[in-house]
């Protein structure tokens, strides 16, 4: 067996990969949120029992959403190559990974958001409806604001799922922690790199989760049981 990678090298690998992961996941989360939340809102508005029920639109939106959600990452990547090239001017590297990551995450966020919005208390929605508020205002001031803690938690779930997905960034040369674990650790049978990357991933994820939990709680004005 080959001698183990020296620790300083491991650290520098980790630092670089962490940067790539944060970049890919960060940007794709922002994009997924920017598109996924409106998608979820739209899904919920057009759903049965929504504010603007419209079975036809709902079914089409739902089909596209579910299509995106079940697509294997590689299929997305292939299907999106030309889109990616158009948007980021190339089809390889971390930046190019963002496109399929975001596209995969948008429907995921959309469905989570819809599920959350559908739980907003009907009496509260009705109270807003009776003020003559426009649908847009009800969406913003009621549906989204009332479920903000849950939405923040859902974005947290998405970020962490994206960290997992970004491990496949290596398919188009994107790098990042997951790819480091796979390429340097798994494929090269380098246990030191594999397990230190995994351990660091766990720490990083826990920190991210903590941040989201805190943010969700900070945004919540409700009383929670103290018994």
């Amino acid at each position: 067996m080959r001698s183990a990678t020296p620790w300083p090298d491991v650290v520098s690998y980790l630092v670089e990969a962490t940067g790539e992961t944060l970049y890919m996941v960060g940007v794709s989360t922002v994009i997924a949120t920017a598109f996924g939340v409106p998608l979820g809102v739209w899904l919920q508005l057009t759903a049965k029992g929504g504010l603007r029920p419209n079975p036809a639109v709902h079914r089409v939106l739902g089909f596209i959403t579910d299509l995106g959600r079940s697509m294997p990452f590689i299929v997305l990547l292939v299907a999106l190559t030309s889109v990616t090239r158009l948007i980021v001017g190339g089809s390889i590297g971390s930046t190019a990974v963002i496109v399929p990551l975001a596209v995969g995450a948008i429907p995921f966020v959309g469905r989570l958001v819809q599920n959350i919005l559908s739980e907003v208390h009907v009496t509260v929605v009705e109270a807003a409806v009776t003020t003559g508020a426009s649908t847009l205002r009800i969406v913003r001031s009621v549906l989204i604001r009332e479920s903000l803690p849950a939405l923040i938690n859902a974005i947290g779930v998405t970020v962490i799922a994206l960290i997992g997905y970004s491990a496949m960034a290596g398919v188009i040369g994107g790098g990042g922690l997951g790819d480091l674990a796979i390429r340097e650790g798994y494929q090269r049978f380098n246990d030191r790199i594999l397990w230190s990357t995994v351990a660091w991933l766990a720490v990083l994820t826990t920190l991210i989760q903590l941040a989201f939990t805190r943010a969700a709680r900070a945004s919540d004005r409700r009383r929670h049981a103290s018994v």
């Binding site: 190339g90 290596g170 398919v171 090269r188």
Partner: protein, 244 residues
Amino acid sequence: SSGGSASDTLKVGVSPVPHAQILKYVADNLAAQKGLKIEVVEFTDYVQPNTALVDGSLDANYFQTVPYLQTFTKESGAKVDWVAPVHVEPLGLYSKKVKKLDELPQNAKVALANDATNETRGLKLLEANGLIKLKAVDAPTVRDVAENPKNLQFVPLEAAQLPRSLEDTDASVINGNYAIDAGLKPATDSLALEKAEGNPNANGLVTRTELKNDKRIRDLAELLGSQQVKDYIKQTYNGSVIPV
């Protein structure tokens, strides 16, 4: 972006093992002699390096064999060309259950890599050792087995997974680099080994047709075929990777 202009850094797509290591050796130690700047882009996939080459995201790649390149050009009609071979990773058949080829039992489970290139090579290795006969097609897969007297059960797995699953099969066809990394010795542990000489499955440098005569590509090909690289490969891989 069509990477034509000569002052540009040469972007080369590679597979992680051993291609990336070999190319990094060249980039770090030899490229300066020729005034070359090389950017190594690693892919864990076998399609994207070609796709990226075609769309201009890469200037060259180094991960594939001639038969694989032929399949790709035939399917896609893309204008990419073989430049020069660099190394061979001889496949070997390994087992934890039997010591000799003919001890392989009836209905034995045999694992193969599940990517197109290595699957075909693996099947050809089995054919060369008289275990099966293949139909006369271009790139035979497990579905193209014509004769299978031992009724071998083929299990396609990801290449890097093969040594890890050796316990669960009767035998597995494993790439040299993965075998060595997993602690196997190709020379002594294998039941059967691909020949290095005249092996059509050499991995080599590929570029777009338009760049075939670009000086940078020529220089890179020359460096990859240099004695220093050959020595590096021999020292680093102990025979699981063989310079051509």
